[in-house]
């Protein structure tokens, strides 16, 4: 059987979000994408936590979570020059899709991918993420950094494809910022930021179109960061006008974000024309970007703090032969991209990958083959030699050894601080990645270490408390919360605090690209003293503990206290709703989950909560609808499938209900109620008595065990 795709074009639009795209499609302002989605499938692409782009784009490219691929943040120690540097391709521990395809003889190209420097020696052209950055004024030489282009022989060709910020003309600026002439460029650096971001992405686009026009290819991956950078720089000017944003600035910059999307639409048309109709095309983003009432009031003073603006759903669009047309698919995560591309080429999926093939996007069920791991496959794959891929922490230790021997000068105080911060943040991000994948014990060990070393970092204590909660170590969590209550507020910018050292902040997510005016004009985060006094999140956590200890009245009191201080706290209304459910106050629970959906209409947990409410109200069809929405937004939601099963069973859809219960058990094998339901459903006429007995036996055994433990 031939592979479903001859060629695959993977386009990365960092931070692209349906919430902005849909109105533009409705207004006819993204005609190319509109045509694309009418002939392909679309869906949300659930992200991973922490929502940090280098980690996410490497998960997209490998199908693996960050603990496996090894890219753990924006910065890493630089063992050659000392200090820190942006994360590199030599720190990635596993093969990316372009390595797997190189290994199987496909002509493969990759452009601008996060952590792509130095360029990898793949079968085609590799252009690193350091390629487009303009580091010199127009009248000065602008050499490409060593290792920015593979093969080396094309270095001069690609150097000539770059665009200087100074080449961004008035004609290019005015469609985005019609009132650019009113900007006082001495005070407001917005135009300079704009030109820099635009020119860098034009450089990447030039490189992509050159390859499509001049090189043979089977696979091309190209990454653009315009949307993410413009959103970080200009989203607070996006309509509707946010409180605290001056009207004159709003009028000047309000169209920039929409302009970024329209610009991508134009670039997309060129890419599609050059790629040809026989190409299967995927457009993906690593996360969304809050663009409405959920825009944060300020940016936390901590490394990678701007990531608070990221939304948990990116976009997925896919079009090509054997792909469904004009359909929406549900439950996709960014881990699914690489397994799906492998299947498009008829190649096996690694069993060690964390994602799955998006079979729901195919017209017919594709043939899926598997191998234990691509890492064990022999042959040239175009990664850097294994001995060049050095763990940055180990490299830093070797450097410390040379300093101790007196052969190398110690790092400067700033460099040392930057290195310590980079290593600390990598550990923090690793622990959060473990937390995200429910590997709580692994997360716990790291959080405990971080809290021991940096006892004043409240975010570490907060995460540790959440980890304790997940592990049902409620007493430890309570202790931590009490300790937090006694901490004195931090002094802003003092040494060792989260927000102090800005030098280790990421390039892509930093405020460096923000217009200077914007930095001062937007509403700042509440002062730490204010936050400290309120401590709504501490009340939230304490409420969760009370809930899990079974004291619903105390839980509700804590949660309502948190609500009065910060009604927008993530998950707060879900917890309030769950507490009302336990108190059998169904109408109050209904209102709480509705409130959660008012805040975030894409919350799978809120839809799940409403499904439970509707079941209690015996409104079974609505319950099924809500449960379907929940699992559509987040496929790995065992209770979502369970409650869907209950609703379907009540509606008499026995087969579909059985499938839903089986799905819930595949995700959560200890879900006793699902065994009980299946035991009953399999006893129905036309069922399977053997299965019924097996589920019944499991149910009774588990119940005995639970009672014995109690």
């Amino acid at each position: 059987m031939s592979a479903p795709a001859k060629k695959v074009l993977l386009i990365g639009w960092d931070a692209a979000d349906w919430k902005i795209i849909n109105p533009l499609l409705d207004q006819g302002l993204m005609p190319t994408l509109n045509e694309f989605v009418n002939h392909g499938v679309i869906g949300n692409l659930a992200t991973l936590r922490p929502i940090l782009s280098p980690m996410l784009w490497n998960s997209i490219a490998t199908g693996k979570r960050p603990d496996k691929h090894g890219i753990l943040g924006f910065m890493e120690p630089d063992p050659q020059a000392g200090g820190v540097r942006p994360v590199t391709s030599t720190s990635r521990k596993v093969k990316a899709i372009w390595n797997m395809l190189t290994q199987r003889g496909y002509k493969t190209h990759v452009l601008g991918w996060f952590a792509g420097h130095p360029a990898e020696p793949i079968s085609g052209i590799s252009v690193s993420d350091l390629f487009p950055y303009a580091v010199a004024p127009m009248d000065k030489p602008w050499p490409l950094p060593p290792g920015a282009v593979h093969p080396e022989g094309l270095r001069d060709t690609f150097a000539a494809l770059r665009m200087y910020p100074g080449e961004v003309s008035e004609a290019a600026i005015l469609p985005w910022i019609p009132r650019a002439a009113e900007i006082d460029q001495e005070k407001d650096k917005g135009l300079q930021s704009f030109a820099k971001i635009l020119s860098e992405n034009c450089s990447i686009h030039n490189a992509a179109t050159w390859i499509l026009q001049n090189q043979p290819w089977d696979f091309l991956a190209v990454y653009y960061n315009v949307i993410d950078h413009f959103c970080h720089g200009f989203m607070h000017y996006h309509p509707p006008r946010m409180e605290g944003i001056p009207e004159d600035k709003y009028e000047i910059y309000k169209d920039v974000v929409n302009g970024a999307y329209r610009f991508h639409d134009m670039m997309l048309q060129t890419l599609l024309d050059l790629a040809g109709p026989e190409t299967t095309v995927l457009i993906v983003s690593d996360h969304g970007f809050h663009s409405d009432h959920l825009r944060p009031r300020g940016i936390p003073l901590e490394p990678a703090g701007p990531a608070v603006q990221h939304r948990q759903f990116g976009i997925l669009c896919m079009k090509g032969d054997h792909i469904k047309q004009d359909e929406r698919i549900y439950g996709a995560t960014l881990l699914d991209v690489t397994p799906t591309i492998l299947t498009l080429f008829g190649l096996p999926v690694g069993e060690d990958m964390d994602g799955r093939v998006l079979v729901q996007a195919f017209e017919d069920m594709p043939a899926i083959t598997r191998i234990p791991s691509w890492e064990d496959e022999a042959g040239e794959c175009g990664m850097h030699p294994a001995d060049l891929r050095m763990d940055p922490a180990a490299a830093q230790a070797v450097l410390q050894q040379f300093v101790a021997l007196g052969y190398i000068q110690p790092l400067s105080e700033d460099q040392e601080k930057a290195v310590a911060l980079a290593l600390r943040e990598q550990q923090y991000n690793l622990a959060r990645a473990y937390l995200d994948s429910r590997r709580y014990q692994k997360a716990l060990a790291i959080f405990e270490d971080l809290v021991g070393k940096w006892p004043d970092e409240t975010r570490f204590m907060q995460q540790l408390a959440q980890c304790d909660l997940a592990l049902e170590k409620r007493a430890e969590a309570k202790d931590l919360l009490r300790k937090l209550m006694t901490l004195k507020p931090k002094v802003r910018g003092s040494a060792g605090q989260g927000g102090a050292p800005r030098e280790a902040e990421p390039r892509a997510e930093t405020n460096a690209n923000l217009p200077a005016e914007a930095m001062v004009s937007r509403k700042p985060a509440p002062s730490e003293e204010e936050e400290f006094k309120a401590r709504p999140w501490a009340d939230l956590l304490m409420g969760i503990i009370q809930f899990e200890e079974g004291d619903m009245d105390a839980a509700l009191a804590c949660l309502l206290k948190a609500e009065s201080a910060d009604p927008h706290l993530p998950d707060l209304h879900l917890r309030i709703g769950e507490t009302y459910l336990r108190l059998k106050r169904i109408d109050d629970a209904d209102r709480a989950f509705q409130r959660a959906l008012d805040i975030d209409g894409d919350s799978p947990e809120a839809h799940l909560g409403l499904a439970v409410v509707r079941l209690r109200q015996r409104r079974n069809e609505e319950a099924a609808e809500q449960a379907l929405l929940a699992v559509g937004l987040q496929h790995f939601l065992p209770l979502g499938h369970f409650h869907l099963g209950v609703a379907l069973a009540r509606l008499g859809h026995i087969n579909r209900a059985t499938l839903a219960f089986e799905t819930s058990l595949s995700m959560l094998p200890g879900l006793m109620a699902a065994h009980r339901w299946l035991a009953a459903l399999y006893r129905q006429p036309g069922g399977d008595l053997e299965k019924a007995l097996r589920h019944q036996e499991i149910f009774f055994r588990r119940r005995r065990e639970v009672r014995a433990q109690a």
Binding site: Q80, P146, D391, A395, A397, V398, L399, Q400, Q401, A404
Partner: protein, 189 residues
């Protein structure tokens, strides 16, 4: 032409510098780091080389001479010069043991790694250095095994003379190798 003596710390770089000096090669050294129990005949170092990353121009002073540039600092060598690099090699187990002894005497704190992890780290570092050397095709490189110098100093001196393309006093170079001293230290290691 600049002659660079390089390698890991404690791989025999000081010995090679002493041999070159004895053979008549001008060396760039400031004598700031004085002889001690770890290097009884001195280090033959030029402390300013530690600033190479910040002041790449300082290497100009080594033109026509030999200078010790530890492996880690090779990455900072600026283009614009012609380098001949004598790269010393010694078994990593010995290197690590010797480094540990030196760190103990200096009272400093080394890498927070086990011996095995440190050896792995040094291997990875050497791989990066070798990759860098392979990239810089304008530079000439010769590798000299520490034990071959101890075992047959004259042959080693001859090899170095051929490499630097300069008349050196082979006998004087060979006499710098006090094999009893080095053998004792290997046993200690």
């Amino acid at each position: 032409m600049i002659t660079i003596v390089s390698g890991l710390p404690r791989s025999g770089t000081s010995l090679m510098m002493q041999m070159l000096a004895a053979g008549g090669m001008p060396i760039l050294s400031d004598g700031e780091r004085v002889a001690d129990a770890d290097n009884p005949r001195g280090y033959c170092e030029w402390q300013r080389i530690q600033q190479l990353a910040k002041e790449p121009g300082c290497i100009d002073e080594a033109e026509g001479k030999a200078v010790k540039v530890i492996s880690q600092l090779l990455f900072a060598l600026p283009i614009g010069h012609s380098y001949r690099i004598i790269f010393m090699e010694r078994p990593l187990l010995e290197v690590v043991a010797s480094q540990a002894e030196m760190i103990r005497r200096r009272g400093t704190t080394g890498a927070p790694l086990t011996e095995a992890a440190l050896i792995a780290g040094l291997k990875a570092h050497l791989n990066q250095v070798n990759a860098w050397l392979a990239q810089k095709r304008d530079n000439l490189v010769t590798r000299v095994e520490y034990h071959s110098v101890l075992g047959d100093p004259r042959s080693a001196a001859g090899k170095v003379q051929n490499f630097v393309q300069r008349e050196l006093d082979i006998e004087c170079m060979a006499r710098q190798v006090d094999s009893s001293l080095y053998h004792k230290r290997i046993q200690e290691a």
